[in-house]
């Protein structure tokens, strides 16, 4: 017993030592300068969560990014240089995100950064990228704080651009459901008790009021809540025309199930989250019917890139994308490539200038960045979203009209 433990101890020490030494020596032989050498690939660092509580978003981002990489390389690369992707697991953690950014910039010598899922990570990584003067396209983190920060010090964050939509864009995505589809006069906001959902709620209220729609009640539930009797009773009491749901994590599913079982007589529309993921919906059975939701992209001819992308995605990976993560990562990489091609050089200032002035094509529409806060513009003619409704486990597009599958499918118990 004692002997075996000793052997194990020695083996363990050796393993760890060799690991540490072997790895650090490898780090010193980091690659040389790759700038502007046409033989060298153009390296893009991807900061995405692959472990931790947002871990399931990472793979889908890589899957989207790979399609962009293949398309660009097949078309001759970026000014003749092939695109290489170097992913790093930021684990949706601020410290890991900064570590990743530093490693990608200082050791892998990437030419640009794309990514971050969490706003906190994006805010910390922005500074690292700005210090190193490396272009950084924020693909998913949505909070307004990012563009506020860029807007305040535009020259420092010269190379940071926000491909991700703003909070107001998420709500603008839902608004047509109230105005065009249901012609609602009142709505109820049920959301989880997080900063994100609260921001969403207050922006929604402003936009709805501007459209003449009144908020008649709101509920913020715990992120670990499982029992929604109280919420549903409150909704029934408030008697709104539409329920807007901002529960995007785990409680979303039990809430939707109870909502269905209680036969609440008004339609519900949810923002991106657990209830918009096809895998979750697949197992919910009938209880997922009649939930409407907003998303950024779906396999409809929204731009000429869209249909081929979704076909490739389905063929290559065999699953349905969510319409968020993969779309924004793909778009970010394409924008980067298109901007350099348009600028005609790898010069970073030229790139920043091009990004500020030109327009770029992506899956979600046409990207045009704001000159001061570098936020991609939302709305007709720019980037826009779609609305769909779950019926029998399939997403039926209900808005905009030019690509829709059907009108809103009404549940028998709606008023």
């Amino acid at each position: 017993m004692v002997k075996r433990n000793k052997l194990f101890a020695v083996a363990m020490v050796l393993f760890l030592l060799v690991g540490t030494l072997g790895c650090s020596s490898q780090s010193q032989s980091g690659s040389g300068d790759s700038k502007d050498n046409p033989k060298q690939p153009y390296k893009i660092g991807l900061l995405i969560p692959m472990s931790g509580d947002a871990g399931d978003h990472g793979q889908i981002m890589i899957d989207g990014a790979k399609i962009a990489q293949e398309e660009i390389n097949a078309a001759g690369g970026i000014l003749g240089r092939q695109v290489e992707l170097i992913p790093f697991d930021s684990a949706a953690n601020t410290e890991k995100g900064v570590t990743g950014a530093k490693k990608l910039i200082e050791q892998d010598k990437v030419d640009a950064l794309v990514g971050t899922y969490r706003t906190g990570v994006a805010l910390a990584v922005m500074d690292v990228a700005a210090d190193a003067k490396i272009p950084f396209l924020i693909s998913m983190a949505a909070s307004d704080e990012i563009r506020n920060k860029i807007g305040k010090d535009n020259s420092y964050y010269k190379y940071v651009f926000k491909v991700a939509p703003d909070v107001a864009d998420y709500t603008a995505n839902l608004l047509p459901f109230l105005t065009d589809i249901t012609k609602a006069k009142t709505y109820y906001y049920a959301a989880e008790n997080t900063a994100w959902a609260k921001q969403l709620g207050s922006v929604m209220k402003k936009q709805a009021e501007a459209a003449g729609i009144k908020l008649v009640g709101e509920a913020y539930v715990d992120t670990s809540a499982t029992e929604f009797t109280a919420t549903i009773m409150d909704i029934k009491k408030a008697n709104p025309d539409v329920v807007v749901c901002g529960i995007i994590t785990a409680p979303g599913v039990p809430f939707a199930k109870q909502y269905y079982d209680a036969k609440v007589p008004v339609p519900m529309v949810v923002t991106s989250g657990v209830l918009t993921i096809p895998n979750t919906i697949k197992n919910m059975g009938a209880q997922s019917d009649y939930i409407s939701f907003g998303l950024f992209n779906i396999d409809k001819p929204i731009t000429d890139l869209t249909v081929p992308f979704w076909e490739k995605f389905q063929e290559k990976y065999g699953y349905r994308g969510t319409g968020f993560n993969e779309v924004k990562t793909y778009d970010s990489i394409r924008i980067l490539a298109e901007a350099i091609n348009k600028a005609g050089s790898f010069d970073k200032d030229a790139l920043a200038k091009t990004l500020e002035t030109e327009q770029f094509k992506g899956l979600a529409g046409t990207y045009k960045f704001d000159e001061t806060d570098h936020q991609a513009k939302w709305g007709e003619g720019y980037v826009n979203g779609v609305l769909a409704e779950w019926k029998d486990g399939k997403a039926q597009v209900i808005w905009p009209e030019n690509v829709r599958d059907s009108a809103l499918i009404r549940a028998p118990w709606w008023k």
Partner: protein
């Protein structure tokens, strides 16, 4: 009317809380260890039934039985292979079970991936009795939970093994001296705990979500309930479970919906401050 509806919801929820906490209270009493991996058996139960129902297409009953039996066997193995070696060292047990819970979570991610999943309900629809709504699925879950709890109580009261279990829990030294194989009882109790956690998960996964980290919240709830009811007291545990569920439901309607979790912590901390032995703990003496 609203009040009655809320109380009924709270009671339905309380039955399931009681089921979850019962296994933990038995394990704590009999093994004298802080088992932080308890939530993992909850997770496993959910994933097993997900696997049997969705991937293999079994019916609910068969899938449920298979899941809990598997959880029972895994409990046996874990006790024998991991815990037995270090059971006398309280700290090591906590670290080990904590690490084991994390490891199993990651293994689940490895095998089934990390996306949120859910199960179709066993019973769809709602009963409307004079304006009070009762979801059939919840009624079914509650009924099965109550049957299981009653079975466990009878088992503790009537059977030879059940009595031995109570003896080990109340007086370990004495149990050794009357010739009870304490280690065997501990092993079986641990497995019974796994079984109960898994069965709660089987009943709840059509209502809630299935995902790798799902076990932490029931672990904490169960610990809170056990502390509230008095460590090792089965009666206290069951009463505390219902009390807690009612507090959660009522406070979320009458005070604030985001408060259910906060109210849980507040109650827990108050109890520890005012009456550390729990509401029904009277184990000292003799």
């Amino acid at each position: 009317m609203a009040f009655i509806q809320l109380v009924i919801s709270g009671v339905l929820q309380g039955g399931l809380y009681a089921l979850i906490a019962l296994g933990l209270t038995l394990t704590l009493g009999v093994m004298r260890i802080t088992d932080l991996s308890y939530g993992v058996y909850y997770t496993l139960g959910a994933y097993f039934s997900f696997f049997f129902i969705i991937k293999l297409g079994f019916n609910f009953v068969l899938a449920g039985i298979l899941s809990v039996v598997l959880a029972f066997l895994i409990g046996l193995l874990v006790e024998r292979l991991l815990l037995r070696r270090i059971i006398s060292d309280e700290l090591s047990v906590m670290i080990l079970t904590f690490a084991f819970a994390y490891a199993l979570e990651e293994i689940i991610v490895f095998v089934w991936g990390s996306p949120f999943r859910t199960l179709p309900p066993y019973a769809i629809g709602t009963l409307n009795i004079g304006g009070i709504l009762l979801e059939k699925q919840r009624l079914v879950s509650f009924a099965v939970a109550v049957v299981l709890i009653v079975l466990v109580l009878l088992f503790l009261k009537k059977t030879r093994f059940g009595k031995a279990l109570r003896m080990v829990s109340q007086q370990q030294h004495g149990a050794y001296l009357v010739g009870i194989d304490v280690q065997l009882i501990q092993r079986l109790t641990f497995a019974v705990g796994s079984f109960l956690a898994a069965s709660a998960a089987v009943l709840l996964s059509p209502i809630y979500l299935v995902y790798p980290a799902m076990g932490w919240s029931p672990l904490l709830k169960a610990f809170g309930i056990v502390i509230l009811g008095g460590m090792g007291s089965v009666k206290g545990t069951i009463i505390a479970a219902f009390a807690l569920a009612l507090i959660e439901v009522l406070s979320s309607y009458y005070i604030n919906q985001s408060l259910s979790q906060v109210s849980f912590f507040v109650v827990l901390i108050l109890v520890i401050l005012i009456r550390p032995s729990g509401l029904f703990g009277n184990r000292e003496g003799v």
